[in-house]
């Protein structure tokens, strides 16, 4: 087994996608070349704990790993202000990625910070040549990021794309074009729940990437639990989002 490491690496690029969402590139060939879609990284800031971010992309030369940072608190505010050249400490890649082998076609659904890991998933699937359809759901046009004209875009306010939630977008898909398909969703919990229900009602498997407040990111503190179905006395089992996930079978999660 390869020894995992805490990397000291440099930020090589930074841009703002929206006023409160930064997109940074981190020069870390070892982590970048081994990361798979759905995995995340833990990045240090001046606060005590590291902050988790889904891998949003990897450069073509496999050297730079990209993450999106949406400001939600003081740690992410500080990290969004990071400039190229800054040295950071990073644990990467962490967690389990999506299964991109077992299905012949994929329907990807994303919203919120979920657009970042789904972007990496889309890029990877595109290279594989498999049929892939992407649905993005945002509140309004000003929130739209990492969009491609081929995506099915939905906004709650209807000022861009289809008015409605991602379900309105999903309903436009011709499933006959998607043989042996799986649905992969990363977004706010209600979006993932609704997408999972939609997939099940169409006889499709759905996998989601869960988000939880994390301590370590490597499975030792047992803070970031996801309640999953289990055949035990409790009727459930608290799995670790960071180590057992963050990707879970929709059907396994207790919503």
């Amino acid at each position: 087994m390869t020894q995992k490491k805490e990397y000291t690496c440099k930020v090589v690029s930074k841009e703002f996608l929206t006023p409160d969402t930064a997109y940074i590139g981190i020069d870390c060939p070892e982590a970048a070349s081994s990361a798979v879609p759905g995995q995340f990284v833990n990045i240090s800031c001046s606060k005590f704990l590291k902050r988790p971010f889904g891998v949003a992309s990897v450069s073509d030369d496999g050297k730079v790993l990209y993450v999106g940072i949406k400001v939600v608190g003081k740690g992410t505010e500080e990290l969004s202000g990071i400039e190229a050249g800054t040295e950071i400490s990073m644990l990467a890649p962490l967690g389990n990625g999506f299964d991109l082998e077992s299905y012949d076609s994929y329907i990807l659904v994303s919203g919120g910070t979920g657009v970042f890991p789904v972007n990496f998933t889309y890029e990877t699937l595109k290279v594989s040549g498999k049929k892939v359809t992407v649905v993005q759901g945002f509140r309004n046009a000003s929130q739209v990021i990492l969009n491609d004209p081929s995506f099915i875009l939905t906004t709650d306010e209807g000022d861009a794309g289809i008015k409605g939630t991602c379900i309105a977008g999903l309903d436009t898909i011709d499933l006959n074009d998607h043989p042996n398909a799986a649905v992969l969703c990363v977004g706010p919990k209600p979006m993932m729940k609704a997408t999972g229900e939609w997939a099940e009602s169409h006889g499709l498997k759905c996998f989601v990437s869960m988000e939880q407040r994390m301590g370590c990111g490597i499975g030792i503190c047992l803070c970031c639990t996801v309640k999953t179905k289990a055949d035990n006395e409790d009727g459930y089992y608290n799995k670790r989002c960071c180590k057992d996930g963050p990707v879970f079978d929709y059907a396994e999660v207790i919503w």
């Binding site: 087994m1 020894q3 995992k4 490491k5 805490e6 240090s44 606060k47 005590f48 704990l49 590291k50 740690g75 400490s89 644990l91 407040r213 994390m214 301590g215 370590c216 490597i218 499975g219 030792i220 503190c221 047992l222 803070c223 970031c224 639990t225 309640k227 035990n232 006395e233 409790d234 459930y236 089992y237 608290n238 180590k243």
Partner: protein, 304 residues
């Protein structure tokens, strides 16, 4: 014997560094980051008679220089541990300490009775009388010196495996608790577990933790732990394992000078998983630079 080897009672440790219970699970995950044989020992996740799902909701709240947790002793249960993890831990190349938690005296008795036959594999039992995140047992026992002495002597009669009593700092007089453990027949005390704390979400006006309160750990609690180690060292004849906010070699030295024979590294592993590797190198360098053996530092503090 290297310059950093120490003894806790009769137990030789090749290094004073032990991974603290609840911050290393059973060693599998941290083994992906470094060879745990560099350590003096590893203390298992706190175990209970039955599997425990732990507390619901938000379990972690970051604070300045540390964090609150309210995991609530989530663990697979002692039977599962014996069948699946004990053998793995014995293969790690360091001392195996099994952390024992419970809700009642009967629980602790049942736990130690189950673990006693594995004395060839277990180097010490760390009796957790200090977890602040469960409603009964643990800390409610560990704040009463009479209970501490009673339970220690009951467990003492059940096994020859060294008994380390892990105490809570959430008491007025830590000395009386440590002395009670010693009187009950403990081989060592571990000082300290987490400090009971709370964080408030000013937006929702609710505690951040769904359990309302949690255990505060990290560098912020180090001065409290050092003070308690120092106080107890002055009155105890059994060794002390220091624990609380250790992040670097200087922290280890501070604890040892204050009276610790060994130390536990906890929350630091969450942030820098392989920190014990650097700490080990720095401790070796300290010993070489100062031409001393680490164990000779214990209790060399000169109070004003």
């Amino acid at each position: 014997m290297s310059a950093i080897s120490v003894k806790v009672g009769q137990l030789d440790l090749k290094s004073p560094l032990i991974l603290a219970s609840g911050t290393c699970n059973f060693g599998h995950e941290l083994s992906e980051y470094y060879d745990l044989s560099v350590l003096g020992g590893i203390s298992s996740k706190g175990l209970t008679i039955k599997p425990r799902a732990g507390n619901p909701g938000v379990r972690v709240a970051e604070c300045r220089a540390g964090m609150l947790n309210s995991v609530g002793l989530q663990n697979p249960g002692v039977d599962y541990f014996i069948a699946n993890d004990l053998e793995y831990m014995t293969g790690l190349g360091c001392r195996v300490i099994v952390n024992v938690a419970g809700h009642s005296e009967d629980d602790y008795i049942a736990m130690v009775t189950k673990l006693a036959p594995y004395k060839d594999k277990i180097d010490a039992l760390e009796i957790n009388l200090s977890c602040p995140n469960v409603k009964s047992g643990c800390m409610s026992i560990g704040t009463d010196p009479h209970e501490i002495e009673k339970i220690t002597s009951l467990l003492r009669s059940l096994t020859d495996i060294p008994l380390w009593i892990k105490l809570t700092p959430n008491v007025t007089d830590i000395k009386s608790c440590a002395l009670a453990a010693q009187k009950g027949g403990a081989d060592a005390v571990v000082l300290i577990n987490t400090m009971l704390g709370m964080a408030v979400d000013i937006r929702t006006r609710r505690p951040v933790l769904t359990n309302n309160t949690g255990g505060y750990s990290g560098p912020a609690i180090k001065p409290v732990a050092i003070r308690m180690v120092s106080e107890c060292y002055q009155v105890l004849s059994i060794p002390i394992i220091g624990c609380g906010g250790i992040e670097c070699a200087d922290d280890v030295l501070e604890f040892m000078i204050a009276g610790a024979s060994a130390v536990e590294i906890g929350t630091a592993s969450l942030v820098h998983p392989a920190c014990p590797v650097d700490i080990t190198a720095d401790l070796n360098k300290y010993c070489e630079d100062n031409s001393i053996e680490l164990k000779d530092l214990t209790g060399t503090l000169q109070l004003w």
